[in-house]
Assembly symmetry: C2
Homo-oligomer: 330 residues x 2
Amino acid sequence: MADVARRAGVSMATASRALSDHPHVAAGTRARVLAAAEQLSYVISPEASRLAGGVTGRVAVVVPHISRWFFATLLDGLEQVLREGGLDVLLYHVGDAADRRDFFQRLPARRKVDAVVVLGMPVHDAERDRLELMGVHIVAAGGQVENYPYVSIDDAAAGRQAVDHLIFLGHRRIGMIAAIDPAEPGWPVLPGRTLAYRAALADAGLPAGPELVVTVPWGGLSGADAMARLLSLREPPTAVYAHSDEVALGAMRTLRRAGLRIPEDMSVVGIDDHPMAELADLTTVAQPVLEQGVLAGRMLLELLAGGSGTDGATVPTRLVVRGSTAPPRR
Amino acid sequence: MADVARRAGVSMATASRALSDHPHVAAGTRARVLAAAEQLSYVISPEASRLAGGVTGRVAVVVPHISRWFFATLLDGLEQVLREGGLDVLLYHVGDAADRRDFFQRLPARRKVDAVVVLGMPVHDAERDRLELMGVHIVAAGGQVENYPYVSIDDAAAGRQAVDHLIFLGHRRIGMIAAIDPAEPGWPVLPGRTLAYRAALADAGLPAGPELVVTVPWGGLSGADAMARLLSLREPPTAVYAHSDEVALGAMRTLRRAGLRIPEDMSVVGIDDHPMAELADLTTVAQPVLEQGVLAGRMLLELLAGGSGTDGATVPTRLVVRGSTAPPRR
DNA sequence: GCAACCGCTGGAAGCGTTTCCGACTACGCA
DNA sequence: TGCGTAGTCGGAAACGCTTCCAGCGGTTGC
């Protein structure tokens, strides 16, 4: 910066002010400084800048299972907005519970970021307290979290759309493949999607035998296994509601291999509207994933700008009817 | 840190050395310093540390199309290794040509990182010159880039495995669906995969009519369109080689909708071994994606540790035969 | 027995900014 | 004409750490 100041014929103090857009700098002076910086292709040192009391300009994004479409797409939207807002994205992939503990243990103390965005997972109270204690903002996207700014879908409503669709088609015996996160054993994942199932059946006066619900770790192959289990029932369902499209796609493989036709012999509905759902003609409940990332980014920007921010936003889902659902044969 | 030093009864110099694991510190002294730090729950300020030390402890990762499985998985592997190596990942998503130009023009990562990893895309010469301006290490993964340490597959070999498989099964009329990056119009994407096709056909003395090759922007729906075009030929192929699994899956949808059976009426083979390939019973050429990210990470770590690093690594691919390929009917 | 040496430690000079505080200029007003 | 004031600008002190260099006592080599 000394070079820039010298070249512009001003002191370092003035150069600093000009570069960081402070008031009390004459327009002409500012222009000269910026020109000099440009010519020298000067870039400020974030370390020094932060050390001297500024902010880091960095945001930590915590994401589990980054290679999955849902999380990667969320990240896509978020990164876009934050980049436009002049913030850098520091990526933290917490694959399992240990990673997670590790992250919340050290990151806040390290003072590396101004804010944390948690993607697609709930945040425990203790973790939230820890973050707030360190004075960093926190925003969540893609997973229902309370007590602080978040953006997500209404899982119960989404599940309801899926199951109600099956009921409307005339199905009376509907199975559910519930997915749980293998990295968070015992953690109630997407309880809304499960509750929706029970509520919809109850409202329609349909039986909900426990044998109709299969719970498996998240994933396509798990979905395949789960479907096999449902097929092994004495009286299999005529339709299946899967917690996610990946799981549903797995279920479809089992059906295909068993020689059953979709939707004639079995209807299948998922949630998410994964790109593959379109290719597989899977009926699903679409949620705007990219948009959730974008919204979370905007929320954070507002928060960092001093705004109070909204409490949270729930984005709407919608049923997308494709070829995997139809009335039951009988 | 001054507090810690005082409490431990040493100077700041010694405290610094003890905390950063330097040699030339007596074991007892180190223990005392660490204990003091522990009691005061002291954490080092990364900014100050870096300002004084000269390194940032951060790595920029440049990735296009992050929501696609391939890139996200590459990132997954890379992040894992870098995090273990104590480095933070600064994510730069260059979605389209504009982003890309912007990135290389402004070099937003300048002064912020010790190294740059470019994932899954070739770097033009001009861009490379810009990168070198940053004066940091550069590593590429998942896309062949020369002049740099890189890790990728041999696209020509992979393509060869796919096409040779079809030829071996007895197919004489083989179509190709070539994918190009919509964000990089006119850029020769994956030329190896195209060359492999021509070479394999030539070696087997098979015709390679230009009508058998359809080039579309990357994506499942594009694959579906491409397949439709192949089916509209007076004499359609009996097998199709797609540049990627997503494209192949799209092609399969068209076949399914047309009432054609796979593999009886048409064999389909892809490249990548996308998780969905397994669910769709798609024969493909698998490439170790996560591993490429991991390897690139290790390479970088070695480079940063002062090692000379290897020039590059090519990881092997292997044919995975599933249910989408079989000998032609006639 | 003396010098060279070694392992450990402390003092202090940066690292590149931001920002407080004081100074200087040019003006408006009495 | 003299003085207060607003608008600018420069000097210099942090910010919290790393590391060079020198000093210290004690050990080794000849």
